[in-house]
């Protein structure tokens, strides 16, 4: 049986993308898989009694070494802020390519804590900073220094000791350009070095908390139980900075979604599902419920989604146990069709992620297809005709072409770059000034404009002639030829409409990162947790690939 790939007009709607969950394809999981047999080392740990100083961690294999350099600094209460406008943090980090020399560390000591206003070199690959969850960190120090383990319930409510507020890579602030490293096989998957940085930072937080507790009470202090460590991750606060990324990298976006869609299609096409695989699927599904019941948020929007997810999942599990026979042919296809009929988007996508768990043979080859050589698709095929371009628009943007942009609500917002932080922002076009400096992120509106312009141009004209008269539409002409080849490269929604929920865009990206427990703090930023339940570096060689569902929380 041949199953069709799911329709991009459905899957690429923001509400659907904003319902995606982590899966085996997620970058933090594929990072662990790739680096599990690398040699892990803590090369330097030079902190004072309060936990301030420098530490270096590394992964090594053959002649390749990646080193995380951590700088922990004193920060007064009134300086601590998760907002991107902060200028100081509890700790700052950079991932260095190779073994850093003393000179490198000295150089970086002056630059890394400054983050966006510091300068890195081609020897550094990623950059980040993080703040303590003070309440949790202090509680853990107090407990450990008194010789007892901290309150697990309190820890599980937060899920981490530190929160990062940005992770930068790919040439930002002088970091190495991607072209310098893109041919390294170990980093074929996207964001692998960003994931490495976060993973090392997680370990640093455990080492630091143990160190501070030990110094506080050398005689009595105990180390944080490794099992508690394993159940802690790294938090992350994410704002709108991430949203334009998925619009600005259409082929990359396509490759992420396409990998997921191909995996689903292949799983639905399995004629006879082996018992061991259906058992693993059911087992992961049941265990994963813990991740939902421990999902804390104040956001009414998210609470509603969690409630619907939990309700749908319980109905689904009931259906699986009472009314479903896995020995029938194309069982996963039947499950998928049942979900489409009986569940909301959040649950459908949750189960889609879960279906991948038993199938390394399907998922693993797809992981290496998730990067993109974007340059290859930059040139516009200007010898194509107006007729061909118009046909592409009609086929690929059929829903978008129906949006009426003369209505105020469809044109309500604009995206801009803030002058003080050079970060993307969203504002009301009719309330705020600055819309004349709008970023080219209103793709739906501009595609509609392109369609209108094409309809008064001669069908047989070539695109080079069209562009002479319509250079203001060049950016969307390029995109239209990209979507012709990459069906999942475009969000099929209006990114400037009144009803846009920008965190849907963040959620999409973060789900591919492998984040759990999305906690929206407004419609424009959210908190998440990464690597919660993941093996510690010493446990990597023999870790359970389904660790995501084995956390204590």
């Amino acid at each position: 049986m041949q199953v069709e790939l799911r329709n991009p007009n459905v899957i690429m709607k923001l509400s659907r993308l904003g319902s995606f969950h982590q899966s085996k394809l997620s970058f933090l999981r594929s990072f662990l898989k790739e680096f599990k047999d690398w040699e892990y080392k803590r090369d330097l740990f030079d902190l004072d009694e309060f936990g301030y100083g420098v530490a270096v961690y590394s992964f090594k294999k053959n002649n390749r070494v990646y080193s995380l350099i951590c700088f922990a600094n004193e920060l007064s209460e009134n300086e601590r802020s998760d907002r991107v406008i902060a200028t100081k943090w509890d700790a700052a980090f950079t991932l260095h390519d190779g073994v850093p020399t003393k000179k490198d560390i000295e150089r970086l000591k002056n630059e890394v804590p400054k983050q966006e206003v510091g300068r890195l070199s081609y020897k550094e690959l990623t950059l980040s900073r993080a703040n303590k969850s003070v309440r949790i960190f202090d509680h853990v120090v107090e407990s450990l220094s008194s010789g007892i383990q901290p309150d697990i319930n309190l820890l599980s409510k937060v899920g981490y000791l530190y929160r990062t507020t940005a992770v930068y890579g790919s040439g930002k602030f002088g970091l190495a350009d991607r072209f310098r490293i893109k041919n390294r096989e170990e980093i074929y998957g996207p964001f692998r070095l960003e994931m490495m940085l976060v993973y090392f930072v997680r370990q640093f937080t455990f080492d630091q908390v143990n160190h501070v507790a030990k110094n506080k009470n050398p005689k009595k202090a105990v180390n944080l139980d490794p099992e508690i460590c394993r159940n802690l991750g790294i938090g992350n606060s994410t704002g709108l900075g991430m949203a334009p990324f998925i619009v600005n990298h259409p082929t990359l976006l396509n490759n992420w979604i396409y990998a997921r869609e191909v995996a689903l299609k292949k799983i639905r096409e399995i004629k006879n599902v082996k018992t061991e695989n259906s058992d693993l699927f059911k087992n992961c599904l049941k265990k994963s419920i813990k991740n939902i019941t421990s999902w804390n948020t104040e956001s009414e929007y998210q609470k509603k989604k969690i409630k619907s997810l939990l309700r749908d999942l319980n109905i689904f599990i009931n259906f699986l146990e009472k009314n479903f026979d896995f020995s029938k042919e194309f069982a996963f296809n039947e499950i998928y069709l049942w979900l489409e009929k009986n569940s909301e988007e959040e649950c459908i996508e949750y189960v889609v992620s879960m279906m991948m768990e038993p199938y390394d043979d399907i998922v693993n080859p797809l992981i290496n297809t998730m990067s993109s050589e974007e340059e290859k698709y930059f040139n516009i095929p200007t010898d194509r005709t107006v007729f061909e371009l118009r046909t592409i628009l009609e086929n690929k943007y059929s829903k978008i072409l129906k949006i009426d942009f003369s209505k105020k609500e469809n044109n309500q917002n604009f995206w801009f770059i803030s002058k003080n932080k050079e970060e993307p922002r969203l504002a009301d076009r009719f309330m705020e000034s600055g819309s004349e400096l709008e970023q080219p992120l209103a793709i739906a509106r501009d595609i509609k404009k392109l369609y209108d312009a094409l309809s008064v141009f001669k069908n047989s004209s070539t695109i080079d002639k069209f562009l002479v008269k319509n250079s203001d539409l060049r950016h969307v002409v390029r995109r239209a030829f990209v979507i012709e080849k990459f069906p999942y490269s475009e969000i099929q929604d209006n990114t400037i409409g009144q009803s846009i929920i920008p965190i849907d865009m963040l959620r999409l990206k973060l789900s591919f990162f492998g984040a759990l427990k999305f906690d929206p703090r407004s419609d424009k930023w959210l908190r998440i947790c990464m690597f919660q339940g993941a093996p510690l570096p010493e446990q990597l060689k023999n870790y359970d690939d389904h660790w995501v569902y084995n956390s204590l929380n």
Partner: protein
């Protein structure tokens, strides 16, 4: 040192701020990255061009032909370059293309370099006495590097290079013969079994 990613982003944004559309600004960002990657003064020339552009007008060349002359104003290197790139598939039948007076011609160069990749042919670009051989946008060979700012190219000549060997047939044969010394002379039994198949393709 600035990364190429920073160079591309800043060039793109500044081009938009200078009055170009986002689509054209994206092209300029990509081009300045190419120039800087190949060691040519992209940022320097773009900066000066935008500075001058505030005070002076430039001619916009929309349809490129075999001879492109401007009566008074110099050609804008970005519009001329962009249209050359967009129209190159129909222009490659011309052996040579001449432009008179292109302002800041180094900004024109990356469009030609990218055009070389599009049509799969090397292109020779002469800007007065400076010669550049543009190899499918993979490399640039030139007699004129590190010149800083070039304000105008009075005579700019583009020559499409046919895809042909750069050597004589006898030179090839000589080298080929030498390479044969790595082969093993086959005995009858090797002829029979060495390839793993029969002596003919259809037995």
């Amino acid at each position: 040192m600035k990364s190429l990613s920073e160079i591309e982003t800043v060039s793109k944004r500044s081009s938009k701020a200078a009055g170009f559309s986002w689509g054209i600004a994206e092209e300029v960002g990509k081009n300045i990255r190419i120039l800087e990657l190949f060691g040519l003064g992209g940022i320097k020339n773009l900066n000066y061009y935008f500075r001058v552009r505030n005070k002076r007008n430039f001619e916009k060349l929309h349809l490129v032909s075999n001879e492109n002359k401007t009566a008074k104003l110099e050609f804008c290197p970005i519009i001329a370059g962009l249209n050359f790139l967009d129209q190159v598939r129909s222009l490659e039948i011309l052996n040579e293309i001449i432009f008179e007076k292109i302002a800041y011609p180094l900004l024109f160069l990356p469009f030609v370099s990218r055009a070389s990749e599009v049509i799969g042919k090397k292109i020779q670009l002469k800007i007065d006495n400076r010669v550049f051989l543009l190899n499918y946008n993979n490399s640039i060979y030139s007699n004129s590097l590190n010149e800083g700012i070039v304000e105008v190219g009075n005579n700019v000549l583009i020559k499409f290079q046919e895809n042909k060997d750069s050597f004589e047939e006898n030179e090839w044969r000589e080298l080929y013969k030498l390479s044969e010394n790595t082969f093993v002379e086959e005995s009858d039994s090797l002829k029979q079994d060495g390839a793993g198949a029969g002596l003919t393709d259809n037995d």
